[in-house]
C-alpha cells in the first residue's frame, strides 16, 4: 500500500468532484465546471499534486485541444469532460505516456464517466421529489438539504471513489499495457486525438449556423488561421469587426422596413 499515492489519488478525485457540472461550491459552473473542470486547468492541478507541473500542463494542453469545443447543451455529449480530464491526465503523467495516449485515455475514461454522470441525474429525480414535498410545506430547510446537500453527497461519491481507485490502481496497468501494445495502436491513438476536435467543432457549428449561407463565416475564420496568422486574438478582433458590420447593416434594413409600414 502506497500511502502517498493513495493521498494523491484522493486529491485528484476531490478536484474532479469540485470541477463537476453540478458541484455548487465554487460559484456553480462558473468556478467549477468551466474552470476546474477544463482539462487545461486540471493539468496544472494534477501537476501540482503529483509534483510535475510541466508535464501536467503539457498533457493538459493536449487533452484540452481534443475537448476545445466541448459543449454541454442537453444530449450532445459523448464524453464527460471532468472525468476525462482528471482520470486521463493523471494516468498519463503516472505512466509517462505521450500526449496522444493521454488524449485517448481521457476519451475512454470520459465515456465511462458519462454513464456515471447520467446515473447521478437519474438518482437526482429522487431528491427532486423530496424538494417538491418540502416546497409544498414551505419547508426551507428541506429545500436546501434536498436541492444542495444530499445530491452532492451522491455526486461526491460517484466522482471521488472511481477516480481515486482508477488513479491508484491504474498506473501499473496502463504502464504495462503501453509496453506491450504495438506501435500501430499508439499511432491510431495519436491520429484519433487530432481528429476528435472536429466533432466538437461540428457540434458548435450546429449550434451557431442556422442557414447554410452562414458557412461562409466559418470558412473565413478557418482560412484566416490556416493562411494568414495563427493568432486567435487577431482573428477575434477581425471577427468582431465583421460582426459589427453585420449588426449595423441589418439594423439599417429593419429601420427601412418599419418606415415603409408607416
Amino acid at each position: 500500500m502506497d500511502g502517498l499515492l493513495l493521498l494523491q489519488a484522493f486529491l485528484i478525485g476531490l478536484f474532479c468532484y469540485l470541477g463537476s457540472i453540478s458541484s455548487p461550491w465554487l460559484m456553480g459552473v462558473t468556478g467549477g465546471y468551466y474552470v476546474l473542470g477544463r482539462p487545461l486547468v486540471a493539468g496544472l492541478i494534477i501537476g501540482i499534486i503529483l509534483g510535475d507541473v510541466t508535464t501536467g500542463v503539457i498533457l493538459g494542453v493536449a487533452v484540452q485541444a481534443a475537448f476545445i469545443a466541448t459543449i454541454s447543451t442537453g444530449g450532445t455529449q459523448n464524453s464527460e469532460i471532468t472525468y476525462a480530464a482528471y482520470g486521463g491526465i493523471a494516468l498519463g503523467i503516472l505512466s509517462d505516456a505521450s500526449p496522444g495516449v493521454a488524449v485517448t485515455l481521457s476519451v475512454g475514461i470520459g465515456a465511462l464517466g458519462l454513464i456515471l454522470h447520467n446515473f447521478m441525474m437519474i438518482i437526482n429525480s429522487i431528491w427532486n421529489k423530496r424538494v417538491e414535498k418540502a416546497t409544498a410545506k414551505g419547508d426551507e430547510k428541506g429545500i436546501v438539504l434536498n436541492n444542495a446537500i444530499y445530491p452532492q453527497i451522491v455526486n461526491f461519491l460517484l466522482r471521488v471513489v472511481p477516480i481515486t481507485l482508477a488513479v491508484y490502481y491504474g498506473q501499473g496497468f496502463v504502464t504495462k499495457t503501453l509496453d506491450v501494445i504495438p506501435k500501430d495502436v499508439i499511432q491510431i491513438m495519436t491520429v484519433l486525438g487530432g481528429l476528435l476536435p472536429a466533432l466538437g467543432v461540428a457540434l458548435l457549428m450546429n449550434l451557431l449556423i442556422k442557414e447554410n449561407a452562414q458557412f461562409i463565416y466559418f470558412l473565413a475564420g478557418f482560412v484566416f488561421i490556416a493562411f494568414i496568422s495563427n493568432s486567435m486574438i487577431a482573428l477575434t478582433a477581425v471577427a468582431l469587426l465583421i460582426a459589427y458590420l453585420v449588426y449595423s447593416s441589418s439594423s439599417g434594413q429593419k429601420a427601412n422596413a418599419e418606415d415603409e409600414v408607416i
Binding site: I58, Q152, V191, P197, L199, L203, L204, Y217
Partner: protein
Amino acid sequence: MVKLDKKDLRKSWRTWAMYHLSSMSFEKLEANGFAHSMVPILKKLYKDNPEEYKKALIRHSVFYNTEPQSGSIVNGIVASMEEERANGKEITDEMIHSVKTGLMGPIAGMGDSIIQGIVIPVLLSIGMGISSNGNPLGVIVYMVGFLATILSLSYVLYMRGYQLGISAVDGLIGINSEKLRNAFAVLGTMVVGGLAASFVNINTILKIPNGEESIDFQKTIDGFFPKLLPLLAVLLCWYLISKRKWSATKILILLICISIAGVLLNVF
C-alpha cells in the same frame, strides 16, 4: 409596503450562482435551483403570510432550464415581479410563468453561443498558446480571465434584471436582440472556424510515385490549401450532425474507425 434590499438580492444571486444545477435531473434540470434562489426573496416578502409563501415556492418549482450565468437576469426580473406582487400590484402566476418560459430559450441560445461558443474557446486558446511548453502562466490567465468576466457579468445582469423588472423582457426578446443574436452568431462562427484550423490535426503520409522518386502528398496539399484535411474532417462531422442527425457518439465511433483504417492502410 415591503421592499427588498441589496442584501436580499445579493443572497438570492449567490444562491442561484451556486445551486443552479446542484440537483440536476433529466426532468427538472434547474427548476429547484430557481426555487432555491427565490427563498431569500420570498421569505422577506411573505414573512407574515405563510400561505402565500408556500404558493410562491410552488410557483417557482416548475421545469426551468437556461444558460445559468447569463440567465441570472431572469432571476432578477422575477425577484422584482414578486416584490410588486407582494405590494398588491396585479401580477398573476401566468405572467411570472410566461416571463420565465419566454426568456429561458432565447437566453440559453444567446448565452451558450457567447459563453461556450466564444468566451471559453477564445480564452482557452490564449491560455493554451502561452502554456504549450508547460508554462503554468497560460492556465492562470484562463482562470483569472474567465472568473473575472463571467462572475461580474452574472452579478451585473441579476441586478440589472431587478432594476428593470418586467420592462426588461421587451429588450431581451425584441427585434433588436434578435439582430444582436445574429451578430454574435457571426462572431462565434468565425471563431469556431479558427478553432477548427488550430486544433483539428490530421496529416497524410501517402506518397505519390513520380518516376524514381516519390512526392509527399501532404506537401502537395500544403502547397495549395494548408489544413485541407482538417477542414474536410469538420465538414464530414457537420454534415452528419446537421443533415443526417447522427448522434455525437455515433460520430465518435466513426472517427475511431477512420483512425484505425487510416493507420492500417498507411494513409495517416
